[in-house]
């Protein structure tokens, strides 16, 4: 036996592995290299290595810490809201069988391009002609907020107290339907005999929910949570086109800060350092995800 023959599977896998190596490992190494460099906008002046200065700058930059806090707040509130609402809606649809037809209808926002989601909500919430702003104003919401001690609301995306709730609401508008669909899929796998048996044993609807349905849904809910977390980290388009991170940085999640450093200030080296930290979090979550669904 001279050399081992590569099995057919190896050949089938090869193109994908080669392309992904070029599109993921190479850029990753490139990114690490970028993080030790300073880039220049002037064509004649070459970019240069500056050692760990970008890393040092990040540690000293209090704005970065602030952005992480905004990021976490944005993730946690969005996730809590979507998981809770999505599960409740799914349970309602599950209880009332006639409602299954509406799932796809309420899922329509999933298909709208994120940039359009942002633009559409800018239209809805525009302070001078937006229909939602108009309705909220007529329902007395803004007067109510003022009574609670908030400053006068002139525009929602321009308000330091309402901008973050607004982008969280928009994200939840688009993605709660996904949780509904995931939880419904999980509910369908619960054998009906189990529920019937509990009924016969005299379990009330709350007890059935608490002791049978929820425990059986646990793994489904974990998957839903992880999927949403991954996408929250990945996408930032809606914030980018609505508030752009403002006002006064209250919606400046880390992704927005990275983009701003790279493509507005052209501090690509510094952006790479911030990017690597965000990527680190992603990799850890990837491990959790693969372990959570290790069905293979």
């Amino acid at each position: 036996m001279g050399k081992r023959k590569i099995p057919v599977e190896g050949w089938m896998l090869l193109p994908t592995i080669a392309i992904l190596a070029a599109l993921s490992i190479y850029p990753f190494v490139y990114l690490i290299r970028m993080s030790f460099m300073e880039f220049s906008l002037i064509p004649d002046q070459p970019s240069r290595f500056i050692g760990g200065r970008n890393w040092l700058e990040m540690i000293k930059d209090s704005k970065v810490f602030y952005s992480w806090m905004v990021t976490l707040r944005y993730y946690f509130i969005s996730l809590a809201l979507q998981m809770l609402l999505g599960t409740v809606i799914a349970l309602l649809i599950y209880q009332v069988k006639a409602l299954q037809g509406i799932v796809l209808i309420i899922a329509a926002p999933l298909f709208l391009a994120p940039v359009l989601v942002g633009l559409l909500w800018r239209l809805l919430l525009d302070p001078s002609y937006g229909i939602y702003f108009y309705w909220m104003n007529h329902l007395g919401m803004f007067d109510f907020l003022q009574k609670l001690g908030f400053s006068e609301v002139r525009s929602i995306f321009g308000s330091t107290s309402l901008a973050l709730p607004a982008v969280i609401t928009i994200n939840s508008w688009q993605w709660t339907p996904l949780i509904v669909m995931i939880v419904l899929a999980g509910l369908m796998t619960i054998p009906p005999q189990l529920i019937e048996a509990a009924c016969i044993d005299g379990a009330g609807s709350w007890q059935r929910l608490r002791f049978i349905v929820i425990p059986l849904l646990k793994s489904t809910l974990v998957v839903a949570l992880l999927i949403r977390t991954m996408d929250l980290i990945r996408f930032f388009t809606v914030i980018f086109v609505t508030t752009g991170g403002g006002p006064a940085d209250v919606t400046k999640i880390l992704a927005i800060r990275i983009h701003e450093n790279a493509f507005r200030f052209y501090k690509l080296g510094y952006a790479s350092v911030l990017g690597l930290t965000l990527l680190g979090v992603t990799i850890v979550l990837g491990m959790v995800f693969v372990r959570a669904i290790s069905r293979r």
Binding site: L13, L20, I227, G275
Partner: protein
């Protein structure tokens, strides 16, 4: 006794109807408003209180198609999304099949690597890609955008099709092997046709991710190579009044094809959007 129960069930019914109305309103009204606005003349968009009844006009659509030359951007969108999808499907089905049938070490590591490639924050991916494309002199061209889309569609397609191939019992394939087919022929003639729904689901979702992308396109394209989402947001630039009619018309134009695609694959939508984690 009987009457009491009737009252209770009527109450239940009313509650359910109210809840459903609320749900439909909350999730679908913004989309309805987008369509409605795309048929409005500018003055009707800026009217207060907002109007629901007006004489519909196709001016926004004709303006979008004829004056702004949107057909070019439409073809950019179609080409980048279409080509990246086809490549992802072709290579992803081969790789997915290999992962489902092959017995070799490191399978888990490959899976993990792929999932992180697909998960990587777009803000981070943009950075090295930008400089790499610049040094290859392909920044602001369509091939650059296609490469960027392959970077997330190929791992997605591989991962998802792997799951679909695993649902095909290998006994069916073994029957094929006996007839003297090569392994590749078994893949092409037997396994591939059996996962047609999986291919459709993967293809439609890959297309959707690329078609709906804004961040990559806004950094990697120029005025000539821009895609529709970039054009939609470019209407916002400048100090004049936003031409909302054209923004919403472009939005509706982007939205309808993917919505139809989503409806076509409704049975596998959850599987696809959770990368196969939910069957």
């Amino acid at each position: 006794m009987k009457k009491k129960r009737n009252v209770k069930s009527v109450m239940m019914r009313v509650t359910v109807i109210v809840l459903v109305a609320l749900l439909l309103f909350w999730f679908d009204f913004p989309l309805f408003w987008m369509f409605l606005s795309s048929f409005k003349a500018p003055q009707e968009i800026y009217t207060l209180p907002p109007v629901f009844l007006f004489e519909p006009t196709l001016a926004n659509y004709s303006e979008m198609i004829f004056r702004r030359g949107v057909l070019r951007f439409f073809s950019n969108s179609l080409l980048t999304a279409g080509i990246s999808t086809l490549i992802a499907l072709a290579l992803g089905s081969l790789a997915g099949y290999a992962l489902a049938r092959g017995r070799f070490p490191g399978k888990k590591d490959i899976a993990f690597w792929m999932i992180t490639t697909r998960m990587a924050p777009i803000a981070v991916v943009l950075l090295p890609f930008f400089l790499i494309f610049l040094s290859l002199h392909i920044l602001y061209t369509l091939p650059a955008l296609i490469i960027a889309y392959i970077s997330f569609n190929l791992p997605f397609a591989t991962w998802l099709l792997w799951g679909f191939f695993e649902t095909v019992p290998s006994e069916i394939e073994e029957a094929g092997l006996c007839d003297g087919c090569s392994k590749f022929e078994v893949f092409r003639r037997i396994a591939l046709p059996l996962v047609t729904p999986g291919l459709a689901t993967t293809g439609i979702l890959c297309f959707m991710f690329a078609w709906n992308d804004y961040m990559f396109a806004s950094v990697f394209t120029s005025q000539q190579t821009a895609t529709l989402p970039v054009i939609a947001s470019s209407y916002m630039a400048g100090h004049r009044a936003v031409p909302w009619g054209q923004v919403t018309a472009t939005g509706s134009f982007l939205f309808i094809p993917v919505l139809i695609g989503g409806i076509l694959i409704r049975r596998y939508l959850v599987t696809g959007l959770t990368m196969g984690a939910i069957k």
